[in-house]
């Protein structure tokens, strides 16, 4: 076929390889390049576009991983004619992927509402200013009254007295020993995880922990993230010069086969409760994932972000408990205590921990000693478990109100609820017979004063696949508000 021509000047902040990947994907989805067609070889295409061969290699690698193209040995690259894969996409407009890349990148200082809702809150300010929103389902906030200010303040005051001398020293780069021990004990009690406090690394949020992982893993390999998923993770790696593969997720979680033949050395996922679909990765696939990791010498970041607030389904053992040499367990207190408390942690496998000691042992602590000692005592004294129980009950009540409102509102005529098992968000999709009425649903609802989140906000490309799915954060709503919102939505959908 003739060489593909794309104007690289329009790519904005998108890395060149990503931009080329997007362009080729769009050409495939829109039929400009047909199934079975051969793609140009890497070298002539690179020279044609004036980019390095590695850039084309990276673009092709992403296309292979997502199943758009296939590499045939000694023959070259061909557009996939895999019908199932194509079927996922033919409904879509095709132009989706490239548009979403820069989505919301230019906003700053927004009322950042929650780690998993960050990219939503990017345009929240501009939205709030139009004053029409009466009911906002786009913000993942924790109820203010759930944080035990008094207990926290009392323990902090006590910690200051107990550890006065300690405060003149910078905390250990990994976190203070008392906190790491308290976390180890809590993990054993609550999840059956046995771990030495030595290998726990505390940081001011999971973002920082990813920065540490980048310094441990290096920049010459790929990192794989879930698609759809928590997009910020991929962005952190890309911003730091690490190439990212967005691996599709099916009803069993990340599709492991797509990792094969890749240079992936780190995989980020939430096997116990995928965000935002709620999928739990079944044991069989977990086994295959761990087998792959062992063979490749790759690491898996098990992000257990909402483990405290799952309300249904049997409790799932962590990946970490199945494999302590390839799995990095990661969690945060930000979601369970308060957004304002920036404390997260991860457990490093022994080999990575040795590398950390050797390469990164010189770093100072990154979390206030006051708060570390306070949290240590908060956990050891049993306050944390009590707090979790209380918040769980609050969320359970919220969730029941949400489910009641759904049942009573008559909205189930129009939608199927696809995910409601965790306490903070709900995912639904429009029934096929109402798809037409659902076109531009977000805008129509906004007209009516209700802000909901299109599921595509969590997708990297995948046009059409989740076109009729939406997400609601309802944790600070009452039943009446939710009822009203669904009443308004029914009105939109019935017309």
């Amino acid at each position: 076929m003739e060489l593909l021509t794309y104007s690289l000047e329009n790519r904005g902040n998108t890395p060149v390889y990503m931009y080329i990947y997007e362009c080729i994907k769009n050409d495939i989805l829109t039929g400009r390049i047909m199934p079975g067609e051969r793609l140009p070889s890497k070298r002539p295409l690179a020279s044609h576009l004036g980019v390095a061969i590695i850039t084309i290699e990276n673009a092709y690698a992403q296309l292979i991983t997502e199943g758009y193209i296939q590499s045939k040995e000694k023959k070259g690259y061909y557009v996939s004619d895999d019908m199932e894969m194509m079927a996922l996409h033919t409904q879509g407009s095709g132009g989706h992927g490239a548009d979403t890349i820069n989505n919301g990148l230019n906003n700053i200082g927004s009322n950042d509402a929650g780690e998993r809702a960050n990219h939503i809150s990017f345009d929240r300010d501009s939205f709030d200013s139009n004053d029409r929103v009466a009911i906002d389902f786009s913000v993942n906030s924790i109820k203010a009254d759930s944080f035990p200010f008094d207990t926290w303040a009392r323990i902090m005051r006590k910690s200051m007295l107990d550890h006065e001398a300690g405060f003149t020293k910078a905390p250990d780069g990994r976190g203070v020993e008392e906190l790491r021990k308290a976390i180890a004990a809590y993990l054993y009690k609550s999840k059956g995880i046995t771990v030495s406090a030595e290998r726990i690394i505390v940081g001011p949020g999971t973002e920082y922990l990813h920065h540490i992982l980048i310094q441990l893993i290096g920049r010459s390999c790929f990192v794989a993230v879930e698609n759809p998923g928590y997009k910020k993770v991929g962005r952190i790696y890309e911003t730091n010069g690490v190439r990212v593969l967005h691996i599709p997720v099916d009803e069993k979680g990340m599709i492991i086969d797509r990792l094969k033949d890749s240079n992936v050395r780190l995989v980020h996922l939430s096997p116990s409760h995928h965000f935002p679909t709620g999928t739990v990765m079944p044991i069989h696939r977990r086994g295959r994932l761990l087998k792959w990791a062992k063979e490749q010498g790759a690491y898996i970041v098990e992000d257990d972000y909402d483990s405290e607030f799952r309300f249904e389904g049997r409790p799932v053992a962590t990946l970490y408990s199945m494999d302590q040499s390839n799995v990095i367990y990661m969690n945060t207190f930000t979601k369970t205590l308060a957004q304002s408390i920036r404390i997260a942690y991860m457990i490093l496998p022994e080999k990575l921990y040795d590398r950390y000691r050797e390469k990164l042992g010189f770093y100072s602590g990154t979390v206030s000693g006051f708060e570390q000692y306070t949290l240590a005592e908060f956990i050891s004294g049993g306050y944390y478990e009590r707090h979790i129980r209380r918040v769980r009950n609050q969320y359970k009540k919220c969730r029941q109100e949400m489910l009641d409102a759904i049942n009573e509102s008559g909205i189930l005529e129009y939608i199927n609820v696809t995910e409601d098992k965790a306490g903070l968000q709900l995912v639904f999709e429009i029934k096929p017979e109402y798809e037409k009425a659902a076109v531009n649903l977000c805008a129509k609802m906004l007209e009516a004063g209700v802000k909901i989140v299109p599921f595509s906000d969590y997708c990297y490309g995948l046009p059409g696949r989740y076109e009729n799915s939406f997400l609601l954060y309802y944790s600070d709503m009452g039943k009446d508000m939710i009822n009203k919102a669904f009443y308004l939505m029914s009105n939109v959908l019935k017309n």
Copy 2:
């Protein structure tokens, strides 16, 4: 000349280009390669050693920057016959540089005593365990009783009540607005710096702020740091894949000419009070530095780490006040409040700030909201200034005791004090007539139960240059202890 042969297997964790640089430098210093001699061309040397040409280029660039070799157009690379430069080195053993690279890298979890003393504290644990140290001058600690725990706890409790709703949101990635405004007002009042709170970025320590700068500047350029200097800064950049040039410092501070013809895009220095020599960069050289930065489109990180505790000399205007488009002003509260409080900040020039918004605006805050609001009120309410005044007076008293002890001890027969203007450390050098007695002084003092710091700990290479200089952190010593230490030192030196 014949090709140089070095065994790359012995390089440990040193980057290859650094290792080759060290090897060649040693060969020059020990006379294996003579002044005026031609070095092998890059390509054959690269292929001989089995490394990339860029690796040799980087090694040569470092050697040029430090003045060891010169590039003659169309002729090649020659060992410098600059007499002044050579004179600096001929006293030295020559083997120093390569040995210091991995110094202390393997220790972790030490009682990290102070940002400027970190690499000292690396081996402090093993040292403490030998029980012989009665007087330890190697730890830069702040007196525990200087931190106003009561005031801090009271303000924190009040902040919790005032900002309760705010704590359910993640703090702005740059820091909470109240704190950024309080810092801006303080900078205006105390240093005459006018800055919009918008462009202040708060982070959990200067190390994190350097991580942010790396993401803004990229990894394709060099970063220049002072030599001698605060070695940790260079290490942060190297750990993150940025190449570092160690630029020599003379009695006026960093030698600007060494930056010429380099690909340096970021320079880290402390022009108002160089660590650890205490040099103040005079206005003429400041002008040349800023001119260079403007021409190169480079940025200068002005690290003003000890600006609150300088006791002599006229106050120096900041570089930032001379040039707001190329200078990044950086400072920390860790040194003035408590090591345990991890709050530092920097002011980004407008152009860099725009890049920050665009590329890094998606990051969540990294410092606890509780502490940010507390510090904001602590500054705005005037408590911070009061605290600084009180600590200054404590340090002044300490310093006077130190100077008195020196005068009374008779040690001035043997040493010259070369730096005593800031409240935390003292630098002295042995008088030439006692140099022989000073060989292995640190070890001899250790025998006597006194731990002092060899100045070479702050040098990258530069063998011989500071061989007879030593540093003492005396802030938690009394006059008697200091007197005793100097008595013991006199004994060592008189023999």
